[in-house]
């Protein structure tokens, strides 16, 4: 094996993109939702529902991209349901998120039962590694269009939040609902739209899982990517572009265990898998303080109060 340790590095690079893409979509969705002052812990349910919907629609229509779109729409509905429930007095958004997680996964498993066996058409991949003679590098650079779309969404989201009136409205609602009401902004409607759009992105993240990598539909498909969206957004300090880097970092960390296994290092496999969670906890411990808010967090967010 001439590749050896380089192989580990290449595998981590490839994994960063391949495993990081669903993280990218759920974290961007969560980022937008949280910018409006709500937290949606239910994106795990949205992700699984998106994975199921995308797979089923791709199977029936023969078009994986139509599957991706419908996965987004399914996620949008779940996001809207979350936001509608939270708009009532005293209904806690964190608790509703936990319930949506249960409801979304349950619904996806229920409706997805017939789709475990048949195989749907796969999303095409783009070869960026054709110039190389190293098969590992070629494999690592075989990427999916959704990754590129994710990068565009991250840049666009940053621009929209910063420069458009819609972005300003979302941020005002997220910083102070009272100020927004004084300005005559429809707080609940803005949060509904932000959460629904966030759900749309998370649903797309789910369709990536079922239609590209690992490319199947089963009840064990998600390994908690949706749950971790909240932690990822904290890690990224509520900045869309940082969501991109953090997603890549987490994808790479998740690929580290299997990559080391391939060169014969099996010790600590599970500990490597836990690195993203440990890192997030460490970042929260370091940056939180009883004397001030979490840096960069929208003030209306329940997790910072």
């Amino acid at each position: 094996m001439e590749v050896g340790w380089w192989g580990v590095l290449i595998a981590v690079l490839g994994g960063a993109i391949r495993i990081g893409t669903p993280f990218l979509f759920v974290s961007l969705g969560e980022c937008l939702t949280e910018k409006s002052g709500r937290i949606n812990l239910g994106l795990e349910g949205t992700l699984v529902m998106g994975a199921m919907t995308g797979y089923a629609i791709a199977l029936h229509s023969g078009s994986p991209w139509l599957g991706v779109l419908c996965a987004g729409l399914a996620g949008m509905l779940l996001g809207a349901l979350h936001s509608w429930l939270c708009s009532f007095q005293r209904v806690n958004d964190i608790a509703v998120g936990i319930a949506m997680m249960l409801f979304g996964t349950g619904l996806a498993f229920f409706l997805g039962k017939p789709y475990i066996q048949p195989s749907a058409p796969r999303l095409p991949s783009i070869d960026l590694g054709g110039w190389s003679h190293v098969p590992q590098l070629q494999a690592a650079l075989q990427i999916n269009g959704l990754f590129l779309i994710g990068i565009i969404v991250a840049i666009a989201l940053r621009w929209i939040l910063k420069n458009t009136s819609w972005g300003l409205k979302v941020r005002v609602v997220g910083e102070s609902a009272d100020a927004a009401r004084a300005l005559g902004l429809p707080v609940d409607r803005i949060r509904l739209l932000s959460t629904a759009q966030g759900g749309f992105l998370a649903g797309i993240g789910g369709s990536y899982l079922s239609l590209y990598y690992p490319f199947n539909w089963s009840e064990g498909l998600s390994s908690g990517q949706g749950l971790m969206a909240v932690a990822l957004v904290i890690f990224a300090r509520w900045q869309p572009l940082a969501c991109l880097w953090v997603s890549l970092l987490w994808g790479g960390a998740a690929a580290l265990g299997p990559a080391l296994q391939s060169v014969g290092i099996t010790y600590g496999y599970y500990i490597f898998n836990a690195i993203p969670y440990i890192m997030t906890l460490a970042v929260m411990i370091i940056t939180c303080s009883p004397r001030r808010n979490l840096l960069g967090a929208p003030h209306e967010l329940t997790i910072t109060r």
Partner: protein, 352 residues
Amino acid sequence: MDVPKNLHKALEPFLIIVGSLSVSMVLFGGFVAAAGANPIEVYHTMYRAAFGSSFSWQNTLVRATPLMLTALCTALPGYLGLIIIGGEGAVVIGGLAAALAALTMPTAPPMVVLTTMAFVGMVAGGIWLAIGGALRHYRAVNETISSLLLNYIAIAVLNHLVTSTFRDPESLNHPSTYHIGEANMIGLIPGTDLHWGLVFGIVACVLAWFLMHRTVFGFGSQIAGGNVRAAQIAGLPVGRLILIVCFVAGAAGGLAGMVEVAAIHGRANDTLNANYGYAGILVAFVARNNPLAILPVAVLLGGIRASSGLLQRAHELPDATVLVMQGIIFLVILFSETLYGRFSQLQKQGVA
């Protein structure tokens, strides 16, 4: 004792919860009807599977046992206004620690082994959950997120240890610790197929209720949960209250893990990570954090989960059907929070 006043105070939550469960049943009935099944027959099947015979009752109670304990993981910190969802981690760490404790004492008599297991499991689970409480109080780290992260870290620690240092080489396909020994297993309650864990669960809930409702400590916790500033001005040691309550809550989860090991599996392995912690959150929310209400709610949820097999056989509904039902109940119960204080008849009676 002015019982009538307490009765009226309990009437509002009772009516709202019963109403929510009825609405959930209607919604779920519509759902299964849309899936092509007859809702009345589905409910009849569920009743038969969960409570129809002494066998099904026992099955239900076995499933309810861990839920009673893990519900306390969320319910007790709830008195302090904390939303902790780390029950899963407490179960995993408690079960792992209990199994390892048993393996260090191969020659001790079973009673000593079991007592040590319970003690070590509870301490380990308690410390694990108290980490979240401590981070909340001293570093203002959100307890919901940290307890969620700690769940994943706990599962990684478990998987790491049972596949490396403490692995029984004979557990090929399913990496586990060594067996704690048949003599050390918790037995069955005489005349039943129920293990003693059920008694632990009931006793734990009753004790937790007593602690929170009949002691100065519990009173202080409720004040701190209502208003931290007021509690601090009154001189209550809020930090210590948080740590102790979270420790007790985690100890209940650790005990659930110990029972899983000592009554069912005999080893620590990834079956400890069976989502009892997450189901416990649902139980705690439906019971509105009241430890005594946890008992019937855990039995109800245990029954719903026990009916999944028969639903599949009798109506060809997928096993995820009960997940959908749990999700619907959960959402409706949370929605019902907004109804409190809106029924003026109930309010007047409550004041009188």
